[in-house]
Symmetry: C2
Subunit: 181 residues, 2 copies
C-alpha cells in the first residue's frame, strides 16, 4: 500500500518524466496516472507508473514510467475466455530499459532485486534504448528495469485486463491500495 | 502515381514534421514512411504519409502526417472474415486536425476539396488539437484534414488491412504507384 501523499508525489514525478521525454499529456491525464506498488509497499524498488491513453474492448495504449532503479516484477498475460491473452509491444521513449524474457541466461547489465532471485526467473537480457521495440506474445514471462536515468515507454497492446495478470511472486497484488494517513 | 523523387521529398518532409512534434524515430523508420496519393496523383491535395511502428495480427500502431492543407479522403474499415473491421483511435500530436464523422452537419472550419463534394459526405466536424483523441468504430465513415500548420497524429488500432479499406471516391486506389522518371 501507499499513502495518498506518496501517490500524488509519484504521479507528479512520472508526469514530469513523460513530458521531458517529449510526450505531451493533459493535466487531467497526469492526475490519472496509476501508481502501482504491486502490494509490496516498496514502490521505489518494485513498482511502475501507468498512464492509460486508450482502453477499448480490443486495444490498450499506455505510457509506462520506471523511476531510477525501479523494477517491474516478472509477470505474464494469461488467456481470458476466447482471448489467447494480451499481446504487447513496448517501445522505449527515453532512458535505457533492461528487459528480461525467455531464453538462455545473458543476465549481466541489470541487477537482481534483493533476495528475490526466485521471483525473477527470466534471465535473457535485452538492453533497449529509445526507439527500440520488443513484442511479447501472450503468456510470455517478462520483467524489466531502469537504472539511474529511469525510463519512459509506450505499451501498445490488445485489451489489457491488468487485474488478471499473473506474477511469479505470490506476495503480489496487482491492485494498489491507497490509504489516508 | 508519384515519382521516386516526390516520394523521397515527401518522406523527408514527413520525417521532419514527426521529429518536430516530439516523436523520435530512427532513420530506417524515416526511410520507410509510406507516401500515399490514393492513386489520384494530387498528393498535396489528397494524400497522407504513414509510418507504421507496429503491425501484428492483432494491433497496428502508425504515425500519420498531413502536410498543410492536405486531406485524407473519406473511407471506412469494413469487416474482414470474422473481424468486425478495424477499430481506430486517433490522437493528435501536433497541429490542428479537422475531423469528419457521421452525425448532423456542422461543417464550418474545414474546406471542401475542389469539385469533390460527392466524395466527402460526412459533415459532422470535430476540431482536434494536440492530446485530443477520437475513436472510430469499424465501418464508421471518416475523413480528415489539416490547415496551414499541417498535423501529426498517432493511429492506434486493431489489425490494419489498408488494401481493403473502402473509399467514397471510386477513383481511389489505396496502393500508391511509384515510378522512375
Amino acid at each position: 500500500m501507499i499513502t495518498k501523499e506518496q501517490q500524488k508525489t509519484a504521479q507528479k514525478r512520472a508526469a514530469d518524466m513523460i513530458r521531458a521525454s517529449g510526450i505531451q499529456i493533459t493535466d487531467e491525464e497526469a492526475h490519472g496516472i496509476e501508481v502501482v506498488d504491486f502490494g509490496l509497499s516498496s514502490l521505489e524498488k518494485e513498482g511502475v507508473q501507468v498512464l492509460t491513453l486508450v482502453q477499448t474492448d480490443r486495444v490498450s495504449i499506455k505510457v509506462l514510467v520506471l523511476f531510477p532503479n525501479q523494477t517491474e516484477p516478472e509477470h505474464w498475460h494469461p488467456p481470458v475466455g476466447e482471448d489467447p491473452g494480451k499481446e504487447e509491444t513496448i517501445r522505449v521513449i527515453s532512458g535505457t530499459v533492461y528487459f528480461y524474457i525467455p531464453g538462455k541466461s545473458t543476465f549481466s547489465k541489470g541487477f537482481m532485486v534483493d533476495g528475490k532471485d526466485n521471483y525473477y526467473t527470466m534471465r535473457n537480457e535485452v538492453v533497449m534504448k529509445p526507439c527500440d521495440q520488443i513484442t511479447l506474445q501472450p503468456g510470455e514471462k517478462h520483467w524489466f528495469q531502469a537504472r539511474d536515468d529511469g525510463a519512459v515507454m509506450y505499451s501498445f497492446s490488445t485489451i489489457a485486463r491488468d487485474a488478471l495478470d499473473q506474477f511469479s511472486d505470490p506476495n503480489i497484488e496487482r491492485i494498489t491500495k491507497i490509504f489516508d494517513e
